[in-house]
Amino acid sequence: MGNWSRFNIASIVLGFGFLYLPIVLLVIFSFNESKLVTVWAGFSTKWYAQLWHNQALLDAAWVTIRVALISATCATVLGTLAALALVRYTRFRGRMLFSGMVYAPLVMPEVITGLSLLLLFVAIGLDRGFWTITLAHITFTMCFVAVVVQSRLLSFDQSIEEAALDLGATPVRTFFAITLPVIAPAVFSGWVLAFTLSLDDLVISSFTTGPGATTLPMKIYSQVRLGVTPEINAICTILIGIVAIGVIVASVVTKQREAQRERDERAAFAQ
């Protein structure tokens, strides 16, 4: 990147400003002394301290984290299996339909996903609450995991699985001893993605929730209708922090493994 022309600088500033200005404002005002959101009155962390006394908010956070942990884990298992089926059994009947169905939720409006899940839960008479939210989150995050894992599997050399079978490992052992360790970084990235998606979902949670199960985004949304408080800014800042850390960790893990590999390869050729 040689020439930092004015045009380049302007477009970068504009682009990043557009993306991040609202977030930066939110973070700044979460440290505002004043109760008025739009007037700066000096630095303070008191709103963060107050969060610890807001039991409703803490409960919502706890629900959110549990939903995200459980749904991300289940979605990772199911998404990985779906990706394996799509990549490996290329000749089964209705494969196109199956792959279309796995990916449909990626582009499906969330309102429709939420509504259809709600109808399903009502139809089968499931009590709405924590578990219906979790199920719904598994459904809509699974396809993201499938996409991530599938792209890794496409470059996976299947002869190493055959080698394991040839050496006497059963298909199940082969999966756990060979396939899973090799695709683990992709599976982990999928998990982080599912976790963050679940963490900040509002629409689908709202459709599938019941009494006593309020997630953090729902809580924030309902409070905002009564007016934005610095407390909300503080909790949002924490959420942003968690999501950012998740994304950064996932990409650093991938980058580091690649860098390590390159170093090793160079070492091998240098000798």
Binding site: D157, S159, I160, E162, A163, A164, L165, D166, L167, G168, A169, T170, P171, R173, A177, I178, P181, V182, R261, D264, E265, A267, A268, F269, Q271
Partner: protein
């Protein structure tokens, strides 16, 4: 190195009707959709044999090997190993191991754990595994690399790990798919002899796939030449070279001159053939085709003599031509000689002395000739 020659010469179980084959491929066909990759193929392979499958790319060698290993199921036909049908037996229960064309090392394991993998699957005690892995590392001279991962090794080292891993379980049969494909010429030749020694030492049966004919000739007890999913000829390297059973095999293995013609007489084990190149050939042949039948004579370049004067038996087995091209290869010289009808015949001669007094030159008129048992009569 031990002398393999004496052991090898006496080793010919295929010639003994009483010996039972260890692997028996019976009328095996493999289809992928409409495409027939292996076509009604039958083969016998004997214990301790070094058997090579040789053929052009795409002729079905790997497919046959994969059926032996259990990764593909025959569409029809049967494979018997040690008296037992392999039908329905999955790869992880077969007493065969395979060395893959791509090596297929486990990228997340060290050299050591790669080699130990198969032994662990068998539930071998830890101490025994460590001992066996140590032996294997020593065998392939990789003791210093035990803790490395595959991507920290060179191509040749990876190939050795793959070999050690497939040998670790002491399988009854080792299948090798282009085992030396990734090596340079010198390392390749060294490794060929190492493989032969190893096979003798451990007393294993090797089935090796290659499309390098020289490699097959060097290593194998017998070679199966394949074409389009069928076996064209199974024989020892010498038989394949000196007595090919068809134009395909003669052409596929080494250089050859083929003279087409028609039989004009057959007597006392000799055929007289009038060739389309304007001279008659008298050639030994056990067959007795009818007079007038089409026949072709295949003669290797090194069996053709090049002289200035016509030989005594001219014009039978001799014809005049002009030196068209000379290729000096160091150990020998290859001549391309143009006959009157324009066809070019290849002849080669060993450079037994350092300097010939009066060497052949370009455009020189010469005679080429050959003996009555120098070639082989092909039917087709």
């Amino acid at each position: 190195m031990k002398s393999l020659g004496s052991i090898r010469r006496s080793f010919a179980p295929w010639a003994d009707p009483a010996s039972k084959p260890f692997i028996s491929v019976k009328n095996v066909t493999k289809k992928f959709g409409d495409f027939t990759a292996v076509d009604d193929l039958s083969l016998n392979i004997y214990t301790r044999e070094f058997f090579a499958l040789l053929g052009a790319s795409g002729c079905g060698k790997s497919t046959l090997l994969r059926m032996l290993a259990g990764f593909e199921q025959p569409t029809s036909g049967e494979i018997i190993l040690d008296g037992q049908s392999l039908a329905g037996i999955p790869p992880y229960r077969r007493p065969v191991n395979m060395m893959f064309q791509s090596y297929a090392l486990f990228p997340h394991m060290t050299v050591e754990t790669n080699i130990a993998f198969g032994l662990k699957q068998d539930g071998m005690p830890k101490a025994d595994i460590a001992e066996r892995v140590g032996q294997m590392l020593k065998l392939v001279k990789l003791e210093k690399f035990a803790k490395r991962k595959p991507h920290q090794l060179s191509g040749g080292q990876r190939q050795r790990v793959a070999l050690a891993r497939s040998l670790a379980k002491r399988p009854k049969v080792l299948l090798l798919d282009e085992p030396l494909g990734a090596l340079d010429k010198k390392l390749r030749e060294e490794t060929q002899f190492e493989l032969m020694d190893l096979q003798q030492e451990l007393g294993l049966t090797f089935v090796v796939v290659t499309h390098d004919q020289e490699e097959a000739m060097t290593m194998a007890d017998r070679i199966a030449v394949m074409s389009h999913g069928k076996v064209v000829q199974v024989a020892t390297p010498a038989e394949i070279y000196e007595a090919p059973n068809s134009r395909f095999v003669a052409d596929f293995i080494g250089d050859v001159n083929i003279f087409d013609g028609a039989v004009s007489a057959a007597e006392n084990g000799y055929l007289r053939i009038e060739t389309g190149d304007g001279f008659p050939i008298r050639m030994a042949s056990p067959e007795k085709p009818a007079v007038g039948a089409k026949a072709a004579v295949a003669i290797r370049p090194e069996k053709i003599r090049v002289t200035r004067q016509p030989p005594a038996h001219a014009p039978v087995n001799a014809v005049e031509g002009e030196i068209w091209d000379i290729g000096y290869l160091g150990d020998m010289t290859v001549f391309h000689i143009r006959l009157k009808d324009g066809r070019v015949v290849k002849a080669s001669s060993l450079n037994a002395v350092r300097a010939v007094e009066d060497p052949f030159g370009y455009d020189q008129q010469v005679w080429i000739s050959f003996g009555e048992d120098a070639g082989v009569v092909l039917k087709d």
